[in-house]
């Protein structure tokens, strides 16, 4: 049985579902609702009250030793790290989605003594 469900999801349409024979364990329990979907049996606010909150010192990307490169996939960041570490003291710190469009959909952030602040470079040559 298929059932179409309209859900606002930040530009991505989630449409109905169909149960199949695939057996995958669900690690927690929950209450049932529509076929294929359910609402877990718990309720608490997502915007919390007195829960753990951390604020961290911000970076200035133009002055601190943090170097960024655009890549096609997250895995490319590791390939780039391996190659950079042949000659420079840098380590992969973060991978970010790049919203700017184009093929370089991810940004690798490197830190370390040899990381250069200010500019990030398109590094298609690092792929493959």
């Amino acid at each position: 049985m298929k059932r179409r469900i309209a859900i606002a999801c930040l530009g991505l349409a989630l449409v109905g579902c169909e149960t199949n024979e695939l057996s995958v364990p669900l690690p927690i329990g929950g209450g049932g609702t529509a076929a294929g979907y359910y609402t877990p049996a718990q309720s608490a606010p997502m915007v919390p009250y007195g829960a753990e909150v951390s604020l961290y010192r911000d970076y200035d990307p133009y002055t601190e030793q943090r170097e960024t490169h655009g890549v096609v996939s997250p895995e490319d960041c590791y390939t780039m790290e391996t190659k950079l570490q042949l000659t420079r003291r840098v380590r992969l710190s973060e991978i970010l989605r790049n919203r700017s469009g184009g093929d370089l959909e991810y940004v690798c952030a490197f830190e370390g003594d040899d990381a250069e602040a200010g500019w990030s470079f398109q590094e298609k040559r690092w792929r493959n």
């Binding site: 859900i7 606002a8 999801c9 930040l10 991505l12 349409a13 989630l14 449409v15 109905g16 579902c17 149960t19 199949n20 024979e21 695939l22 995958v24 669900l26 690690p27 927690i28 609702t33 294929g36 979907y37 359910y38 609402t39 877990p40 718990q42 608490a44 997502m46 915007v47 919390p48 829960a51 753990e52 909150v53 951390s54 604020l55 961290y56 911000d58 990307p61 133009y62 655009g70 997250p74 895995e75 590791y78 380590r91 992969l92 710190s93 973060e94 991978i95 970010l96 989605r97 790049n98 919203r99 700017s100 959909e105 991810y106 940004v107 952030a109 500019w119 990030s120 470079f121 398109q122």
Partner: protein, 162 residues
Amino acid sequence: MLTIYQSVNRALKVDDAEAFQWSQLPRPGTEVTLGNYRWIAVEIQPYVAQGLETIYLVFVARAELPIPRKADWSWSFMKRRSPNLSFNVQFSRDREMLNFGWSMDGAPPKVLRLHDYIPAGEGMQAQPRPWVIQEIYHFLPQTNGLYSAIHLCWCDAVATAA
């Protein structure tokens, strides 16, 4: 309730590989449509924080393709290279998803100001966005999860320099 969908299939455009919803949770093994593709929910991992709604990380596989072995999932590669891998996602107060990323050492985002990376000449230049992370909440895997933590970041709008 925040549900984060991540594709286990490699070589997808980023907007097809990730989705975020504040709504229902699919049952494992059921089919969903996200973006341009139909998917099967193959695994669900809850991440918890005291006093907060659980975040559910739902791994989905392309419905028309064989489900890859877990060792071949796109994120498994990152986990092997970065055992403390964590995920972070930034939202505005009205729950607009602003960006997301991964930290190799499990830490929350180190740069609180959100940036775009704009092609400029032969390179890319970081350009500040009018958003800054104000609060970060740390969710830990309830069972063995892919990530050491999911960091949920709430952002406020700030003025940008002229």
